[in-house]
Symmetry: C2
């Protein structure tokens, strides 16, 4: 009896300490590549891994900087033990990267595909070692990310190893637009924090930072043409200079991430009037912006002229959501203007949005608008408009049926400030739901998770974004059938746990995966891989 | 009447957007320097600020690396606007640092004093520009931190400026031991995260990382002498190699921070037995460690031999808290051993602690023990013991009255996992409370805030530490009378808000200051300086 109890305890101990072993049948790359095969070998990677470049685009600093960045990530652990034994031989000593095109323009739909091969060098193998081939530098960056995720520090051998080699990966994203919205009006985010977030986006292969710069609460951005606008910032230290904005755009580009700027008009714009009170219809009617004054459109045009220089991305977000026009009607000069122009306030809302669209288009931008504009006056919207869904389901289906392009951000699933949405609902939300026609499916550019910042500042923004943004990132990157079939608790959850811990190892404050509310701290002691 | 309403609105607006202006009568350096005077000039600082070194210790890489680090912090904003106009003249172009001693050993009581002068160069001034003088490189690092806090990016001129110059600062800490405990057993913290925390400690001039490496839940550290010990880690990826530990110690030293390691014995040690089940008295009695076996002390000695090579700090923490010896009595061989040695379990607890202390002392360490050891058998404790208070008030007073040295960590105020302790209670907790005799006061080495990690992992650890750890940091550094007098809501709170936002700007996820529970997200939109 005694030895039985002892045995029982041994079993319990074993279970206690081994329950977080990996399910070896899964592939721990997030998001899951389009096509891949793996083997049964373990290869060691030289901490002095060197880069060999090829192809017309191989000379780009984007690749060299990316390689240096990933080398630091892959070899985070000191390689001190190697320096005492230089004679160690590693299986992978060289990473070859061939980039076929020397065009490094980053735009919607840029080719992000890549081929990644990892195999042991031997007489038979022509390629040998590790090899990334891509049409563009951005495809090569995606390949570098995948390569970094194959590399794992082994605590027994103290070497970085690649398990399950050889690897053959042929990968490309399902959607061209894989976004994250950051709101720097409700809470100012320092430039360094925005950079941390951009860096973390690249780990999940997200590729658009939707920068909701301004809202009713504050106007943090410098606009040289109208220098009083940033007087609407919370304080004189919670601001972005033009140089800051350039730096953010460049930092993002080095990681293959576009920055889509937004000025949300005519609602959500009260802070504009701090610097220019004329933009307010009256002191008691501070938004929507004054539709009756040409000055309003002069300012909008001036902002766009200044922003066009900073933001090379072809899409520009004009907002247009939650416009309550009641107080236009109760402001005498606006009311008179409506009478003079024979407009209802609804007409004036449409007039405002369309006039702003024209300005944006005149600057060479494709306008993006929140779905209310489509819901209210679809037939009058400029046909180039990209409709940005947020209110609920079925909107993209309606938009693409009318020939508009669409971005999916259904708030029930992809608003990250909705803390009660569990990871699997984020994961299962499908941008193509209800859209069966292939040509219509092609009008869905992708989707975006939205980090509205009423209750998220620098202290909590990263753990509100992660790990749920990663669930959306796989939905947007990976093969729909593959990630939609089977029991995702067995196929996706262990991989998401793993990716969350990877983010933690890289210094990103990703929260536990399965707590009832997002960003809740762990409920007790335990392994990252189980929380 | 109408214009009256207009005026009223104007006033409201003014208040809305100007309420976060700084109170200029305060000094926004945290922790507050011992002695300082300031003036009324504003000086601009050259983004190409150069370093001139002097003194016997001026050649140290600790200073050069520190200067490079702080230069990045001070000039976070792009200086693009300068490069187009090189002819701009700045008031401060050189920082001179003179370090008088070339001894860079970092130990308890190392001289951290410094002199910092910042004034405009002119014919009269011999010093000119910015000057730091210190006896040691660590004093110079403290001076660099203060200098960095005087520097502020001005969004109007787009230059880094120093307000209220000239500055004369003569500074040194009140206590030699200003610690933060990190618990890597309840949740594993990746090496990069520990480094982020060490970096943030240096901003508040904390100088001891108390690394509570191991506890009952997991044993993450590699111990070469007993290589199975880290089988007690949660998973094979949640571990620290010996090289990791060296790297942490070196990273901390470069910032003037000692690392005090802890092995908490004989309680809090269940995880030891995963690798060596003989350390458990029985499968049903897994802690305290088996007092009856010499093997137990062989392992302890082996751990200390290995750790002594890694941790040069003279203090080593032996734990000794919360020892429930009940199951010793119900384990037959331990019960027999107690009978043979004529010991109660209380005697055996004392025997264990004292034997461990002897081992530590034999390795050249000064033992630190949690207060239970003092509370239970003070008269038998080795007189070199440093008593670490945690249970409540008055313990340091009792300890120093008996000639022991003491570290203050009263859990009612300085346990950071107690989320309901507001910043001002952390701030007002005084290590010297009730100790009036100067010679006894000198036995209080300082204090430590403790970040127990049952409910804090990588995702929330920084915002649980900050900003409250900063409140304790000022208590430990600054003049007691200065920071204890007056209304701290007016004298300290605006400065703590400012320091919290400084941490945010530097990428540290410090939480809002005044929420009822620590680490709560902001309750609504607003400025960092008011939340």
């Amino acid at each position: 009896m005694k030895s039985y109890i002892l045995l029982l305890f041994t079993i319990c101990t074993f279970q206690l300490y081994s329950s977080a072993e990996l399910d070896d049948s899964l592939t721990y790359v997030w998001p899951l590549p389009a096509k891949f095969s793996s083997g049964n070998n373990t290869l060691s990677v030289d901490p002095e891994l060197s880069l060999v470049l090829g192809g017309k685009g191989g000379d780009s600093s984007i690749i060299k900087d990316g390689f240096d960045r990933y080398k630091k990530i892959i070899f985070k652990h000191s390689s001190k033990s190697y320096s005492v034994n230089k004679r160690l031989v590693f299986d992978i000593g060289i990473l070859k990267i061939a980039v076929l095109s020397d065009n490094d323009e980053l735009q919607l739909g840029v080719d992000e595909s890549y081929l990644l091969l990892v195999e042991k060098r031997n007489g038979q193998s022509i390629i040998g070692e590790a090899y990334i081939e891509a049409n563009t530098v951005y495809g090569a960056l995606r390949g570098l990310e995948t390569f970094s995720q194959l590399c794992a520090f082994d605590y027994e051998t103290k070497a970085v190893q690649i398990y399950k080699a050889p690897w053959y990966i042929l990968d490309k994203p399902r959607f061209a637009f894989r976004g994250l919205l950051l709101d720097t009006s409700r809470h100012y985010l320092p430039v360094g924090v925005i950079k941390q977030i951009i860096e973390s986006m690249s780990y999940a292969k997200l590729n658009v930072l939707h920068w909701h710069i301004i809202d009713e609460e504050s106007f943090p951005l410098e606009v040289p043409s109208y220098p009083n606008l940033w007087k609407g910032s919370y304080t004189k230290w919670e601001r972005y200079t033009v140089e800051d904005a350039y730096e953010i755009v460049n930092f993002a580009k080095m990681r293959g991430i576009n920055v889509m700027a937004e000025i949300d008009i005519p609602g959500h714009a009260e802070s504009w009037g701090t610097g220019y009170p004329d933009l307010w219809p009256s002191p008691s009617c501070r938004e929507p912006l004054d539709v009756a004054k040409n000055f309003t459109f002069d300012v909008i045009s001036g902002i766009m002229t200044d922003l066009r220089k900073i933001f090379p991305f072809g899409l520009f977000h004009l907002g247009g959501d939650e416009v309550n026009t009641d107080c236009w009607n109760s402001t005498s000069h606006v009311k008179q203007w409506l009478l003079d122009h024979n407009m209802t306030t609804r007409d004036a809302y449409q007039y405002f949005v369309l006039r702003a669209q024209e300005i944006a288009i005149s600057k060479g931008w494709t306008p993006v608008n929140w779905e209310e504009t489509f819901n209210t006056f679809a037939s009058n919207l400029n046909p180039r408009t990209i409709v940005h869904n947020w209110l609920g389901g079925g909107v993209c289906a309606k938009a693409v049926a009318k020939g508009f392009r669409c971005i999916f951000s259904n708030q029930g699933f992809w608003y990250l400030d909705h803390l009660d949405v569990p990871w699997y609902e984020v994961y299962k939300a499908e941008p193509l739901e209800g859209i069966n026609d292939t040509s219509m499916q092609e009008l869905v550019l992708g989707g975006e998770v939205c980090m509205w910042a009423e209750r998220a500042d620098t202290s909590v923004v990263q753990q509100t974004i992660w790990p749920r943004a990663a669930a959306a990132a796989e939905r947007l990157w990976s093969n729909r059938e593959t990630i939609s079939s089977g029991n995702i608790t067995l196929t996706a959850l262990p991989r998401l746990h793993y990716f969350r811990c990877l983010l933690n190892r890289r210094g990103v404050q990703a929260a536990p995966v399965t707590n009832y509310y997002a960003r809740q701290p762990p409920s007790g002691p335990g392994s990252c891989y189980e929380q």
